[in-house]
Symmetry: C2
Subunit: 291 residues, 2 copies
C-alpha cells in the first residue's frame, strides 16, 4: 500500500454548535486539500467543554448515535472527500451517557462506536458527573487507508489502552482531546507531561500517534479553562513530527504502514512480551490475585 | 521522609573483570560523595557485553548468586556507604542461566533477586542464546530509602513491566542497561527512541525513572558494538532532569517521594484504570480469549 497522510486539527469552540460544526468541516476540507486521508477532530467539538461544571441541564447536549445530525453531516463529508473521520460526540443511550466516538470510513459508513473507557474527575474536568465508563472495550477499525485505533482524551494517559489497540493490530493511534489549564493550579501546564505520555505509547508500540486538542479560553459557571492546543503527530519512535501551538491549526504527516510493520517486527517488542507475568495489571492495587 | 538522592553511573568496560569491578566501586563512591543513597550501576558491568556473539564458552562467566564474589564486595560497599545498590550479574542456577539483579540494601543485606523477564534477540544482542526468560516476575523492594522497582535493559521497553512495578507501589524505577549501535544498521541510533520509551513510563506512572547504560566500543568475534551511554534520570512527568553523553558519568537527582505520592493520587491515573477491559494484554496476538 502507498503512503497514507493523516491529519490533526485544532480550533476554539464557540457557544454556538452550528458554528463549531461549520469550523470543523472547514478544517476537514483544509486537511483534505493537503492530501489527508484520515483526519482527527478534537474531542466534543460541537460545544464548549461542558464538563467544567456539574450541571444536570447539560445532559440535554447528548444525542443518540442513531440519527445524530452532526454524525450524518460528517458522513456526507467523509463520502464527498473520501476521508476517514473518527468523530467525537456526547452520546445518549437510554439512561446511560457516554463520551463516544464514531469511526466514519471513507465511503461515509459508520464502522462502529468506541466509548471512552477512562473517565477523569478533577476541578474543571468533572467527567464522572456526565459519563458512564465506556463499555465497548478498546477497538480497532479496518478503514479504507489503515487499521486505526482510537482512544478519547484521558484514555491517552493509559499505556493499557494504547498497548491493547496495538496488540489488536492498530497501525496508528488517534486521540481527540480537551485538555488545558488546571483551575486549582493556575501556574501549572500539563502540556509537556501530556505529550510525553503519548510519545511513550508511540515509542513502546512503534506506531504513530495523532492527538487533536482544542484551544481558547472558555468560562464555566464555577471555573474557566484555557485549552493549550499543542496537537501533534508523533512517529513510531515517539518523535514529534509536527506540533501546533495555541492557534488554530491543521497538521499532517505521511506514513508507509508496510515499512512500519517490518520495522516493528524487526525490533522485537511484540515477540518478547511475557503475558504470563502480567497478571498484576489486572488489579487496581497491585495485589496479585493469582498468588 | 526527607528527600532521597539517587544516582546513575556509566563507564566503559575493559576485558578485565577486576578492573571493571574497581571502576564500578569508584563510581559508587563518587555518587555517595555527592549524597546519593540509591545508586544504579550499568547492566553486566563485570565484563564486556558478551552477548555480541553466540559462544558456548562464555557461559563460564556466570556465577551462582550464593557466594558471588562481586555481590559480596558490593554488599560490603553498600554497608560501608549506607547506600542501596541494585547490582546486575550473570547468574548460573543449575542448568538455568539468568540475566539477574540483586538488590542490596543500605545495611548490606541482599533483599532478593529479580531475573530479566524480556529477553531480546538481534544482531549484536544475542541474549536468547544465553538467558532463560526470568521466572521471578516483576518485584519491588522496600529499601532503606524508598520502595524501588528494577527492570533490566530490554524490560525498559515494556510498559507492562513499569506499570506492574508502579501498581506494586514502586516509588521510583531503575534500569541497568547495555545498549548501543546496531551492526545491521550502522547509521541508526536507537538512543532517542530508547529514552522516549522510558520517559513515557515515568509520565504514565508518575514515578521517576533512572537508567544506567554503558559506553565505549567493544569488539566481538562476529561484530562490534559502540554503547551510547545517554544514562539519565527522568522526573515523574517524564521530563529529563539530568543526562549523560558518551563519556564516563555520575548523575544524581533528588526526590521527595511523599510529595510525588500526593501528586500521583491527585492526578487520578491509578484511580481511573479499567482492568475489566485489559484482558487483551494477556495475549500475544490480540485475540481475546474471553470473547
Amino acid at each position: 500500500m502507498a503512503a497514507v497522510t493523516v491529519a490533526a486539527t485544532q480550533f476554539a469552540c464557540s457557544p454556538i454548535a452550528a458554528e463549531n460544526v461549520a469550523r470543523a468541516e472547514s478544517l476537514v476540507r483544509a486537511a483534505a486539500d493537503r492530501g489527508a486521508q484520515i483526519i482527527q477532530l478534537q474531542e466534543l467539538f460541537e460545544t464548549p467543554y461542558f464538563c467544567k461544571d456539574q450541571r444536570a441541564d447539560l445532559f440535554d447536549l447528548a444525542r443518540p448515535a442513531e440519527g445524530h445530525p452532526t454524525l450524518a453531516r460528517m458522513q456526507e463529508l467523509a463520502r464527498e472527500l473520501e476521508v476517514v473521520l473518527p468523530v467525537s460526540f456526547f452520546e445518549a443511550a437510554n439512561n446511560a451517557y457516554y463520551n463516544s466516538l464514531a469511526v466514519i470510513d471513507a465511503d461515509g459508513d459508520i464502522l462502529g462506536l468506541y466509548r471512552k473507557s477512562h473517565i477523569p474527575d478533577g476541578v474543571g474536568y468533572q467527567e464522572k458527573f456526565y459519563f458512564n465508563p465506556g463499555d465497548t472495550g478498546f477497538r480497532v477499525w479496518d478503514t479504507a487507508y489503515a487499521r486505526i485505533g482510537c482512544g478519547i482524551c484521558w484514555d491517552q494517559w493509559f499505556p493499557e489502552c494504547a498497548r491493547s489497540m496495538a496488540l489488536m493490530g492498530a497501525e496508528i493511534l488517534f486521540y481527540p482531546t480537551a485538555i488545558g489549564s488546571e483551575p486549582n493550579d493556575p501556574d501549572y501546564s500539563s502540556a509537556d507531561h501530556w505529550q510525553r505520555a503519548m510519545q511513550g505509547h508511540a515509542a513502546c508500540n512503534m506506531v504513530p500517534v495523532v492527538a487533536s486538542n482544542r484551544i481558547g479560553r472558555e468560562d464555566g459557571s464555577t471555573c474557566s479553562l484555557t485549552f493549550y492546543g499543542r496537537s501533534f503527530i508523533a512517529g513510531p519512535r515517539g518523535e514529534i513530527l509536527t506540533e501546533a501551538g495555541d492557534q488554530e491549526a491543521v497538521l499532517t504527516a505521511e506514513f508507509d504502514f508496510e515499512t512500519l510493520r517490518r520495522q516493528r517486527a524487526g525490533w522485537g517488542l511484540f515477540r518478547d512480551r511475557r503475558p504470563d507475568l502480567y497478571t498484576v495489571m489486572m488489579t487496581l492495587d497491585g495485589q496479585n490475585w493469582t498468588e
